[in-house]
């Protein structure tokens, strides 16, 4: 059972996140980490691999520091990693990202039985890459899995909606994106940390993947960020003191703000 997990190195949400001069996310000036939503995909892959004698490959696209995200996943127990690192990729949109991921996955030997992703990145939070990637790979895509079982050449996935849960089956190979409800990601063990440095990490460029640099990056992006502005600081709340007329004061407040 060969599993590929696509992960993203994202700016730490605890830090002050900013944009660069070209309106892309600043990835150099801020501390980053393995996207928390991707940890669930890594954990799920490890669990499936442990039960099926499988191998887990971690794949990321990102600058040099994205190696930290790979390291964390290897420390958690993944077997090997691939880092696609090429300056031309800077500013790529979801379409280009899915193209590069697809090419990288197609280059893997052996080919994966299962591709796992998080439900969205914690920085872009679009959640469209998984289905785009599945389309490019010609794989069935099952998204937002909150439960996943693999047996007899099939995945069975539970997908929780607001009113009902669906159970969906797909034949392998398949792509599944997982939610933060699916498991409790493990902490790396000390042994895992020691073992990680001996695990193979391949670094590939666009040329290695045979991807034309014209098709990726900021200029090829179908969407651009025109401008950005910081969210205005939170206004001080208004305290209504109840002097027997608290109820009507509340009603006035709600009326003024068009809640009533």
């Amino acid at each position: 059972m060969n599993i590929v997990v696509c992960v993203k190195y994202v700016p730490d949400a605890q830090a002050d996140r900013t944009f660069s001069v070209d309106n892309t996310t600043d990835r150099a000036g801020v501390d980053g980490l393995l996207s928390e939503l991707d940890e669930y995909a890594v954990e799920e892959a490890l669990k499936i691999a442990e039960a099926n004698d499988g191998e887990v490959t971690i794949l990321t696209i990102g600058p040099d520091r994205a190696a930290d995200a790979l390291k964390k996943a290897l420390q958690m127990g993944a077997h090997r990693a691939v880092h696609v690192n090429d300056a031309a990729i800077h500013g790529s949109d979801a379409i280009a990202t899915s193209l590069v991921l697809a090419k990288a996955i197609q280059k893997l030997d052996p080919q994966p039985d299962l591709v796992l992703t998080g439900m969205a990145s914690t920085d872009g939070t679009m959640g469209v890459v998984p289905t785009m990637l599945a389309e490019r790979l010609g794989l069935p895509a099952v998204t937002y899995a909150s439960e996943l079982t693999v047996a007899d050449g099939k995945v069975s996935v539970r997908r929780d909606g607001d009113l009902a849960s669906q159970t969906i089956e797909a034949t392998l190979p398949a792509l599944v994106s997982v939610t933060d409800q699916i498991n409790e990601p493990r902490y790396p063990s000390f042994k895992g940390i020691m073992a990680a440095k001996k695990k193979p990490v391949d670094t590939w460029t666009l040329a290695d993947l045979g991807v034309d640099a014209e098709l990726v990056g900021l200029t090829a992006a179908w969407t651009t960020v025109e401008s950005f502005s910081a969210r205005p600081p939170r206004q001080k709340g208004q305290i209504v003191t109840d002097e027997g007329d608290g109820g009507s004061k509340l009603a006035v407040f709600l009326g003024e703000h068009k809640f009533l």
Binding site: Q75, Y187, F190, K191
Partner: protein
């Protein structure tokens, strides 16, 4: 270990402490137990063996590394580190530093994995600060020994699989020669473990009395295969343990300062933030300064420990300073919180009680002063 790897270890423990253990502090206080899920995660992570040598499946941290790890562990309830403190520390080090090759091979990997919990059984009534007055004895019996006596306040006794039992095999009471140490299985016949002692603080940690009524053990349980090494083994283990405790105190003091800063900046009297009162600022600044001094002292003592230039005096000095320092910080932390500081609802109330222990065990403050004074006046 490479620096980058050690940073990963620290980051992992830091995340685990802050994301998993801190949110469970109230549960630990209420139940007086470490929840099984946390215990299992600590085991899987390798926390039972950070100080066990690498060749026995531990992490083999140097003292300089161990104290940095301990500062992270200190940031939450001290009962968390107590869970695996004896395996890595006072009990585990008895085998690591003094065991025969067979004893090391047999026990250390199991201590490191947490498969076995080890306890250190030295203190007795009327033989705490001065264990040379111990009454527990081991008498030769065929090819083994028979142990009689009783120990008190033994950490992790209620969880232990094996005890490092210090017993007199020869010599007069009140002398340090003739004390030996045995690895005794908790299920040995005649060994009785008392109930968990109710304590002032550190709920979730456990201590109990352990008594020995004609407990027969075979010759292979004698640590180092030699009589009389017990007192030296205890002192070596305790010196390392003292430096570890000093680092725990730094971590706990930092947590209490962090809690106090949060409180002082978030709450007010009238229109004034608590943190804007100069007298409160003074308390916060004093805490910060003393924690800084404690941290610097621990790091320097650990460096000396690793270089072998001082493995006795510096640990005592660091333990004395940091355990007293954490007490002063605890007192100010409660003060900064005002009346709330006296309520169970805030962490510093709990830490105030927890911190009191550090001046008592692994050598009281007075005992540290005696050790330091003896050493610095001996050559004069």
């Amino acid at each position: 270990m490479e620096a980058a790897e050690f940073e990963s270890v620290l980051a992992t423990v830091r995340d685990f402490v802050r994301e998993v253990v801190v949110p469970a502090e109230d549960e630990i206080e209420e139940t007086d137990e470490i929840p099984t899920r946390i215990r299992e995660q600590a085991k899987a992570m390798g926390l039972f063996g950070y100080a066990i040598p690498e060749e026995y499946d531990g992490l083999g941290l140097t003292m300089s590394e161990e104290v940095r790890l301990a500062m992270e562990l200190g940031w939450t309830t001290p009962s968390f580190r107590s869970l695996f403190g004896t395996n890595n520390g006072i009990a585990g080090q008895v085998v690591a530093k003094n065991g025969t090759p067979e004893q090391k091979q047999h026990y250390l990997p199991k201590f490191a994995s947490g498969e076995l919990v080890a306890s250190f059984a030295l203190s007795e009534p009327e033989a705490g600060s001065d264990p040379s007055w111990m009454r527990t004895s081991a008498k030769p019996d065929g090819d083994g020994w028979v142990i009689d006596g009783a120990k008190q306040y033994i950490t992790n006794a209620t969880r232990a699989d094996v005890f490092m039992v210090f017993a007199r095999t020869s010599g007069e009471r009140g002398t340090t020669k003739g004390i030996s140490v045995f690895v005794v299985p908790a299920d040995a016949e005649g060994l009785r473990i008392g109930p968990n002692d109710p304590k002032m603080g550190q709920r979730g940690s456990s201590t109990a009395e352990v008594s020995f009524d004609g407990v027969r053990v075979d010759a292979s349980t004698l640590v180092g295969g030699q009589e009389g090494v017990g007192f030296g083994a205890a002192m070596k283990s305790l010196a390392k343990g003292r430096l570890h405790i000093a680092a725990i105190c730094v971590g706990l003091a930092q947590r209490m300062l962090d809690e106090s800063i949060r409180w002082a900046t978030a709450s007010r009297q009238g229109e004034t933030r608590i943190a804007d009162f100069q007298l409160v600022q003074g308390m916060l600044a004093d805490c910060h300064t003393e924690i800084y001094a404690g941290r610097a002292m621990v790091l320097e003592a650990a460096r000396e420990y690793d270089e072998g230039t001082d493995q006795r005096l510096a640990p005592s000095a660091a333990k004395l300073y940091c355990s007293e320092m954490v007490g002063r910080v605890a007192d100010r932390a409660v003060q900064v919180h005002g009346g709330a500081g006296y309520m169970h609802a805030v962490p510093v109330e709990r830490f105030y009680r927890d911190a009191r222990l550090f001046r008592l065990y692994e050598g009281t403050s007075e005992v540290q002063r005696v050790i330091i004074a003896k050493a610095i006046t001996r050559s004069r």
